[in-house]
């Protein structure tokens, strides 16, 4: 599935009340949750495979500041609370973007120095043990 298609689906999901979505197409697919608290009706269903890291503020996205760990790439593993990057709001003001849990980077939807809106999906993580 193409990144653009995933973005489109995400935007659609945001316009609904859905908190968890699983999608399969030609044998492959993905699932994700926009909520930390899974709905009870989902208790019987397998946990969503991917977790979305969304922008905590509107601004310009940058990967980790100098001196931070390696450049984030699809496939690498990251610990929880890892500073992936930061969002520059006003000159000299930044908001960190952190991993919500430890896991593997499944998909990167954001580019260096691109403007992002609040809540915009930046990265998908496949949490450890899922």
């Amino acid at each position: 599935m193409k990144t653009e298609e995933i973005k489109e689906i995400l935007n659609w999901v945001k316009s609904t009340d859905l908190t968890q979505v699983s999608l399969k197409e030609k044998g492959s697919g993905f699932g994700f949750s926009t909520s930390e608290h899974a709905d009870e009706s989902f208790a019987e269903m397998p946990a969503p495979r991917y977790q979305c890291v969304s922008a905590p503020a509107i601004g310009t996205f940058h990967w980790s500041q100098p001196g931070r760990p390696q450049k984030v790439e699809e496939g690498i593993s990251l610990p929880a609370e890892e500073a992936l990057g930061y969002i520059e709001t006003l000159p000299g003001k930044t908001v960190p973007v952190k991993t919500p849990s430890s896991g593997k980077v499944a998909r990167i939807l954001v580019e260096e120095s691109s403007p992002v809106a609040y809540g915009q999906a930046l990265i998908f993580i496949e949490p450890d043990g899922k």
């Binding site: 003001k93 609040y118 809540g119």
Partner: protein, 449 residues
């Protein structure tokens, strides 16, 4: 002229500004909270950015998020609409510091006029009549001072609010006892027992004057808007011209508003509010340093576009019309604020999904709204869902047109104040024009009176 303007607001007023921008060839940038993702202003603007979660404090009141949206969209100016940051002097100042034009008066003018006591002092300086009262706090000469003010008087708590420490005194012999009661009530409520005395204005109407001023010392004052139909100080119906304002009173009020604007070195649009007593005396109450909800009434009466004017003035242009043009009265206009509220349940908010919308139309009808079929009214913000504005040749015909247009408006799914407006309009006192600010409480909310 600006190439791009960001609108730091939501709902119908965001649409109003987007429309003005489009007519002026200016690109518009909408900002929205997560609760407003499906809002019409997001769809209508040329660009839109989500700036935060639903609570206004984290979105529509968030300086940093709004200024960041202006930075990444390269907007040159911010229109604050009404409410939210529209009268926030700090925000106006921060806009300037970030190289963005705040479409409104200067931060210093907002500060001078935004605080009631400072505004009142400025009004005195400009020889604008204010409610007579003691200049400072009451001391042992209270009887002499009250007599100078003239009975009946109101005793008011200096740190007051919410009706605490407020006493109406009609008879001089009751003054001492009531004064002491007010002082002890104020002490208990605010930890400050100081009170002052003001003349009690009997049967007042709420009448206001719209002004517009440029940076070259030109100020115009428009015909008045009568906003006497209120519930708990919330305006419900506004009309222009007022059924009780004569051309002589109008001219005096316009002159007072112009003098105040000149004294405050005011620029952009604003509104000077007065109380009008049954003898034609008027008294300054406060200034709203922004565009008002009820501005379409003035637009309908004069045929002038206030938002277009506001943008031109903020861009440094001269006033595009003079006092004579601003004073022209072409129609009688009435505005109804349609709120998603339940009049049968003490006007409790009634958020929810509007399954289908049918809009009124036809000759002399304007509807400023952001709702559409399937729209969900969120519970996070004020409950205004539409402003119905009608205009006609005279008041009698405007009332008939209002009743007709109100009947056409359908919004199944949420409770609204539509039928309440119809009741008010059909009351004989409204029809005769003979009512005051207690009108709604007196006839329609008997339990509260």
């Amino acid at each position: 002229m600006f190439k791009k303007i960001l609108i730091a607001n939501r709902g119908e007023i965001a649409l109003r500004v987007i429309r003005a921008c489009r007519e002026m060839g200016i690109q518009s940038v909408a900002v929205y909270s997560e609760a407003d993702r499906e809002s019409m202003h997001v769809r209508m603007a040329d660009e839109a950015y989500c700036i935060g979660p639903a609570p206004a404090k984290q979105s529509y009141l968030n300086f940093e998020a709004i200024l960041t949206a202006a930075r990444i969209s390269q907007a040159e100016a911010i229109h604050p609409g009404y409410g939210f940051l529209s009268e926030n002097a700090d925000f106006a100042e921060v806009c300037g510091a970030n190289g963005i034009v705040f479409i409104g008066p200067s931060a210093s003018a907002i500060r001078k006029l935004g605080y009631k006591s400072a505004a009142k002092a400025l009004a005195r300086e400009a020889s604008v009549p204010v409610v007579p009262g003691t200049q400072g706090l009451v001391d042992e000469h209270f009887m002499k001072e009250a007599q100078a003010v003239g009975f009946p008087v109101m005793v008011k708590a200096a740190s007051g609010g919410g009706g605490k420490g407020l006493r109406l005194v009609r008879d001089p012999k009751d003054l001492e006892a009531q004064l002491k009661l007010a002082q002890s009530e104020a002490q208990a409520a605010f930890g400050d027992g100081s009170v002052y005395i003001e003349k009690f204005i009997e049967r007042p109407r709420h009448v206001e004057i719209q002004i517009a001023a440029d940076n070259f010392g030109n100020v115009v004052a428009f015909p008045e808007r009568d906003c006497t139909v209120q519930r708990r100080h919330q305006k419900l119906i506004e009309e222009s011209p007022s059924p009780k304002v004569t051309p002589e009173i109008r001219a005096k009020m316009q002159e007072a508003a112009r003098k105040l604007a000149l004294t405050a070195k005011y620029s952009n649009v604003g509104t000077v509010e007065f109380l009008l007593d049954p003898n034609g005396n008027f008294y300054f109450i406060e200034v709203n340093t922004r565009l008002q909800v009820e501005h379409p009434v003035t637009e309908s009466v004069t045929g002038l576009d206030l938002v277009n004017t506001q943008i031109r003035l903020a861009a440094g242009e001269k006033l595009p019309f003079d006092q004579a043009r601003a004073s022209e009265i072409h129609f009688h206009s009435i505005e109804h604020r349609i709120n998603a509220e339940d009049p049968d349940n003490n006007f409790a908010p009634s958020p929810g999904k509007i399954s289908e919308v049918i809009f009124p139309g036809g000759c002399g009808v304007r509807l400023d709204t952001h709702i559409y079929s399937g729209y969900t009214v969120p519970s996070f913000y004020d409950s205004l869902i539409a402003k119905l504005i009608v205009f006609s040749s005279d008041r009698n015909n405007a009332v008939k047109r209002s009743l007709r247009a109100l009947s056409e408006l359908q919004t199944p799914g949420v409770k609204t104040t539509r039928d309440f407006h119809k009741k008010v309009l059909s009351h004989q006192d409204f029809i005769s024009g003979d009512f005051d600010t207690s009108f709604v409480e007196k006839y329609f909310l008997p339990a509260n009176h």
